[in-house]
């Protein structure tokens, strides 16, 4: 009855009870939705976290073989799965997988070979989408719910799995493809990086061994030639004083340079044997070429070969190491000289290319048919040529970001073409001081 106070109170109480429960239910759902959103956000952060941690791991001194365990630990920690394993197909394409790293599996699992014929690149199971029969991937971790990624190109696979599905281990779904493939991809990246680092270390070690051997032989050689060289140098000094000719002065200058090199080779053979780092500066390109021409002039004269040089009308500057570049040009001229019989001509042309780069073209012109006793051509380089000098030239040009092309036209003509990129070349501002040489 509406007028009965007890009945009215009971009705009011029921009203508040209903409202209380409705509000409580809403609060409960809101709370759960919020929790669910945080859990999903956490999951979506997994790859980012994995990426950051994995590359940090890649930076520390772990070997390629040892990187899998810590990587798997990261995967497990972030994906919160019960079991996980990295597998390697051996041989690639065979469908026979070795478990190379595992967490949550007994140690004996690491010796097992798992057969997964026609391995899928992505695969998952959940209670909603059960597989017909037992998929071979399930045998890897021996749990019903798995998430699998396989990289056919390298034969590597990653699988994570759970015994059950719940709030932490929510069912795997197609949207997890990014997670599992991303994790595998990060692992492969770090693995490749580790392999590259190992190769680099090996190469460095070999180079250091070679430099040490070179330094030892250089030291022995330098010691052997030092005394006779000093005698020759003093003779040259006397000759230069007596004749006062430009040629004698040039010879004296070179003798002094050789003496200095030999003395350094005796005192510090390691430094001489090791490739010196480049010391880049803007140089007048024609000055560099002219300096190289001067150092080859005597040889050309002795061999009866004429040299014609042509420089650009508008001078250009190159960003280069003066010593390395001068030696490279020197070696190239001598290389062509080796291919040129007496009476021939060497043409040296420096020019600016259409793309803004620089080209130095060196070629020879023969006086007639090659003499029958002149060395023949073998695969573009004649046996008579100083191969190590040409190798040095190529390395020097490479170090400057340039390209060196050797051409043998087949009729006895030899050509060397040095190209430097536009970034290393600029015009010389004629209103200011020329770059030093």
């Amino acid at each position: 009855m509406a007028g009965d106070p007890a009945s009215s109170l009971e009705r009011e109480l029921n009203y508040y009870r209903r409202e209380c429960n409705d509000l409580g239910a809403r609060l409960l759902r809101l709370q759960e939705e919020q929790s669910q959103a945080f859990r999903e956000a956490r999951r979506s952060r997994t790859l980012v976290k994995l990426l950051r941690e994995a590359y940090r791991l890649g930076d520390v001194g772990t070997s390629a073989r040892d990187v899998g365990g810590p990587m798997l630990e990261l995967v497990v920690d972030n994906a919160l799965c019960d079991r996980a394993a990295f597998l390697r197909e051996e041989p690639c394409g065979s469908g026979q997988f070795l478990i190379v790293h595992a967490i949550g599996l007994p140690a004996s699992a690491l010796t097992a070979v798992v057969a997964v014929a026609s391995p899928p690149s992505f695969f998952y199971t959940s209670s909603r989408e059960r597989e017909e029969g037992a998929h071979p991937v399930l045998a890897v971790l021996d749990v019903p719910f798995v998430l699998w990624a396989y990289d056919r190109a390298t034969g590597h696979a990653l699988v994570i799995g759970n015994r059950s599905e719940g709030n932490v281990n929510r069912p795997f779904e197609v949207g997890d493809q990014e997670l599992i493939e991303g994790a595998l991809s990060i692992y492969l990246d770090v693995l490749n990086r580790k392999h590259a680092e190992a190769q680099l270390r090996q190469a460095k070690q070999m180079a250091e061994t070679a430099i040490a051997a070179k330094a030892a032989s250089l030291h022995a050689l330098a010691e052997a030639v030092q005394r006779p060289l000093e005698a020759i140098a003093s003779l040259v000094v006397r000759l230069a004083e007596k004749h006062q000719s430009a040629c004698a002065v040039e010879v004296q200058r070179h003798a002094a340079e050789i003496q200095a090199i030999v003395a350094r080779a005796v005192e510090a053979p390691d430094e001489v044997a090791a490739p010196a780092p480049l010391s880049l500066e803007w140089l007048a390109a024609d000055d560099v070429v002219r300096a190289a021409l001067r150092t080859t002039y005597a040889d050309c004269l002795r061999r009866g070969v004429e040299v014609n040089a042509r420089m650009p009308r508008r001078p250009i500057a190159m960003l280069a190491d003066q010593q390395h570049m001068r030696d490279a040009v020197h070696n190239l001229i001598l290389g062509v000289l080796d291919m040129t019989p007496s009476g021939g001509t060497i043409r040296v042309e420096l020019s600016r290319r259409g793309d803004g780069g620089m080209e130095l073209f060196i070629c020879n012109r023969l006086p007639g048919p090659l003499p029958p006793d002149f060395p023949g051509t073998v695969e573009g380089v004649r046996p008579g040529a100083d191969v190590s000098a040409l190798v040095f030239a190529r390395k020097a040009v490479d170090a400057h970001g340039g390209t060196l092309i050797f051409e043998d036209t087949g009729n006895g003509l030899s050509q060397a073409r040095m190209l430097l990129p536009p970034d290393n070349i600029r015009d010389i501002d004629l209103t200011t001081t020329r770059p030093r040489n």
Binding site: L28, S35, V76, I103
Partner: protein
């Protein structure tokens, strides 16, 4: 002096080495160890015994570990506390056979303690939480504690403790009994009378319903609330279906709470004993709780896990614990943290364990682990709690 070390590594040998390297006592009198469940227990124990050959190792599996140097629940963590001073080293008493009855095993353990402990002694109770691995069947803490209390035969002790799990999905659990790995076992670490403990319980649940009466219950399985199928009531509140097809999902969305004291007094988190819902049974319309200690006729409320309340409770509780710490006498902080409170399960935007680690007085070492159930003093006696963090500070009397 007690030293604590924490480490995480996927190799058992390595994780033990990392921890052992931080402890500078060559021969501790006892090592308390909690180990992530992805490690092989025999291997971890062998490595621990190799590091300290004549030292008993007590502890067991944990869903995760919490220390000042780190915390996590990947299943690869290890945390150890090394007791070096005989005056504060607990005596470890072991009882097996939980699989033959939780109450009986608890009672036997209680009798052992009664014979060894002095009145008021502090006791740390650890037990294997999982009765049937992978089946969501638990060793019930309430039965063990009831048996334990019965075995004490009136001896007053200050009991704290936790259930051991291998992971958050209640897959398994195991215990280190000093020398071996045990299943279905419990350990009571009885501290000398020189050691006392003060305890703070950190909560995080809020009532979201009116009082309801449990009208039908059998053990931990609640069939009816206010004469309605319990599952119907819960699902109506949640607006969702529990348990998927098999009813084995851990819902953990809501808990049932029993308020002690005046039911109409203003909300106080310390008045509640909450029980998580473990599974549901659609055919029976029932829900199964973590513990079988609610009775027919009890008035309960549906409780919502409230993450912001949980974090605030941690801040307040840690502040209370710090206020009670006297650095001159404090020995060790023990944090027994319900695994469900971890961010991965609760969805909290902050890890509440991190708040504990950051805010706790660091002059006192900390050993913590993620547990299945927590045991702490409540209204004059100790009882199991769900969805709580129990922060105990041991001190020298």
């Amino acid at each position: 002096m007690i030293q604590v070390a924490y480490a995480r590594h996927f190799e058992a040998a390595r994780v033990v080495r990392l921890c052992a390297g931080q402890i500078d006592a060559p021969q501790p009198r006892l090592v308390l160890a909690f180990c992530g469940g992805k490690h092989a227990p025999d291997e971890v124990l062998a490595q621990l015994r190799s590091a300290w050959p004549d030292t008993p190792v007590v502890g067991g599996s944990a869903a995760g570990a919490i220390g000042y140097d780190g915390f996590g629940y990947s299943g690869l963590e290890l945390i150890v506390a090394a007791f070096n001073d005989p005056d504060i080293t607990p005596r470890a008493l072991i009882e097996t056979g939980l699989d033959n009855g939780d109450f009986a095993a608890g009672e036997r353990l209680g009798r052992q303690v009664a014979a060894a402990a002095r009145p008021g002694a502090t006791v740390l109770l650890l037990f294997d939480s999982v009765a049937v691995p992978g089946q969501f069947q638990l060793h019930h803490a309430s039965s063990i504690v009831e048996g334990f209390e019965a075995g004490l035969q009136g001896l007053p002790v200050q009991l704290i403790g936790g259930g051991l799990l291998t992971d958050m999905n209640l897959s398994d659990g195991w215990l280190f009994d000093g020398a071996q790995v045990r299943k279905h076992a419990a350990a009571a670490l009885v501290f000398p009378s020189t050691v006392a403990a003060s305890t703070v319980v950190l909560h995080g649940c809020r009532p979201v319903s009116t009082f309801m009466e449990i009208t039908r219950i059998d053990g931990a399985e609640v069939f009816e609330l206010d004469h309605e199928p319990a599952l119907t009531v819960i699902e109506r509140m949640l607006g969702t279906t529990l348990g998927g097809g098999e009813g084995h999902d851990l819902s953990l969305l809501a808990t049932l709470g029993q308020k002690h004291g005046d039911p109409f007094a203003p909300y106080n988190e310390d008045d509640y004993v909450n029980r998580l819902i473990l599974t549901s049974n659609r055919a029976q319309g029932s829900i199964t709780l973590f513990e079988p200690d609610f009775r027919a006729g009890a008035k309960v409320q549906i409780m919502s896990r409230d993450n912001s309340l949980m974090l605030q409770s941690v801040r307040d509780g840690v502040a209370r614990a710090n206020a009670g710490i006297d650095p001159a006498t404090a020995l060790l902080n023990i944090y027994i943290d319900c695994a469900g409170r971890a961010s991965a399960r609760s969805g909290a935007h902050l890890e509440e364990a991190e708040l504990v680690v950051k805010n706790l007085n660091r002059s006192v070492p900390l050993i913590g682990f993620y547990s299945g159930v927590e045991i702490a003093p409540f209204e004059g006696y100790s009882r199991p709690l769900d969805w709580t963090g129990v922060l105990a500070t041991l001190r020298r009397n």
